[in-house]
Symmetry: C2
Subunit: 254 residues, 2 copies
DNA sequence: CGACTAGTTGAGGCCAGTCAATGTTGGTGG
DNA sequence: CCACCAACATTGACTGGCCTCAACTAGTCG
């Protein structure tokens, strides 16, 4: 069963660990991620109304599933803390990871169209999400144009990200894929105030491989060879980008 | 310069070949594709208002570009007739085809978020599109909930399609990719009232290959081998699916 | 008719996959 | 706190699927 989204698609949140609202810093207005997230650019009044509509903020433990394909769509999740993988299963049971989402990003957009979520979302570490019930969100968006705009922007951002990913999977070598993966990740962490040079991966080699359309041994070998080239430094899941410009060259050399 | 979307991102439509509105069958209400398209499920009054906001219906010639990355986003295009490829360019100039859109489908959603279109769209044959200016569409959607719903549905549909494509590119063999491509195409043509068994490709082998993350020779070889297996019959771009069930088996055999 | 584009087919090479052995890390319980 | 175990990661040897290069055919348009 899902950790938060409600069992068996009933739409009723059942997490026993909902974070009390009187805790400090559990409001959009004081959230450090607001400019990446749904509330971006809203005036204080609108922000307060958005806050009221968020029906709960809840922790999701490592490896727990946030939602699964087929569960009824009832809203979006904003990642407050932590990271998630999104994946699809092939008919023969293998999993293909199609996304990797970190704090400030939105989960659940895949369900907007069909009333059902279509992919599976699993926490890669202990995380926290804010739940935005869609009906109410849609209503509020009617009155608040910037919110409406943000919703479109978020969907469009996902569309473009997926298209970039198709470009990557369709026409890049294994080495280019890994280099792009690292650069992209570093950039996203940087916008969140973390170092642009050092990052700690939350995924296993196998998960990275699945995401990049490769095998885990290939990923492992590539980490080693990029390290030998002096471009990165690898210590398990801690990666240092020693030469970001060199990494970009790896991508751009045709 | 773009064929329709306006030169140099000015947002002013400049096509010299706009189809007069007094032509028969140029209204949503009488369009055979309405149930696949934006107007799905709208009541007659709303449908009329949607019709009024469509600022033009225009032909796009084979190989003409509908819009390019960087041009200002000013609205969506509904395909009335024909087909298009959507593509991204790598920094070294190769093109990666990321989508293949036919009548009843929507183009331009990639631009909603950023005020600029992000991919390039090119007609594969002489085609026709309806232009929906986004500002007005967004306004109308405020008053017409089913229209709002349709917009979300369309974006979400694209998201899921792209995700399926990532699954295909990330974890399927060349033969599986081609079989899936043919089955998917046949299904889409079938919903539009065409035969589920016979289809005429509008793409070259090279375009199919790019879309599937392969090389043209590989695609050509696969057409031949699927034909030898008795699953399809190939005559240039005319393909007959002799054994759709067998094709599905090709995909599902792990 | 010739030039051009699209498509097919063959021979050979290489990148990434597969199989397998070994090393490392981190969580758990004694 | 440390020993143990399982999961994760690395590395090597070999294989194979798809790519590359190349020759040839068929259809199209001026």
């Amino acid at each position: 069963m899902s950790a938060v989204a409600g069992g068996k698609g009933t739409g009723v949140p059942v997490s026993p660990n909902i974070i009390p609202f009187h805790e400090p810093k559990t409001h959009c207005g004081s959230c450090t991620l607001q400019e990446l997230c749904v509330p971006f650019g809203l005036d204080p009044a609108a922000m307060r109304r958005l806050d009221e509509l968020i029906s709960y903020r809840a922790p999701v433990k490592k490896r727990e599933t946030l939602y699964r394909p087929g569960e009824t769509f009832n809203g979006l999740f904003a990642i407050r803390l932590g990271s998630f993988k999104t994946l699809l299963l092939t008919e023969d049971g293998r999993e293909q990871i199609i996304g990797y989402r970190i704090a400030g990003e939105i989960l659940g957009l895949d369900g907007i169209g069909s009333d059902r979520y279509t992919c599976e979302v699993v926490a890669l570490e202990d995380s926290q999400v804010c739940f935005l019930p869609f009906k109410e969100l849609d209503q509020l968006a009617l009155e608040v144009p910037p919110l409406r705009r943000n919703l479109f922007r978020l969907m469009s951002r996902d569309l473009c990200r997926d298209q970039d990913m198709m470009l990557l999977l369709g026409s890049r070598s294994a080495e280019e894929r890994l280099a792009l993966f690292l650069l992209n990740l570093a950039e996203r962490y940087q916008t969140r105030g973390y170092s642009a040079r050092e990052l700690v991966l939350r995924m296993t080699r196998e998960e990275i491989a699945s995401f990049l359309g490769l095998k885990l041994e290939t990923v492992s070998r590539l980490f080693s060879s990029l390290q030998e080239e002096g471009l990165i430094q690898v210590q398990g899941r801690a990666i240092k980008l020693l030469d970001p410009w060199g990494l970009k060259q790896v991508v751009e050399r045709s």
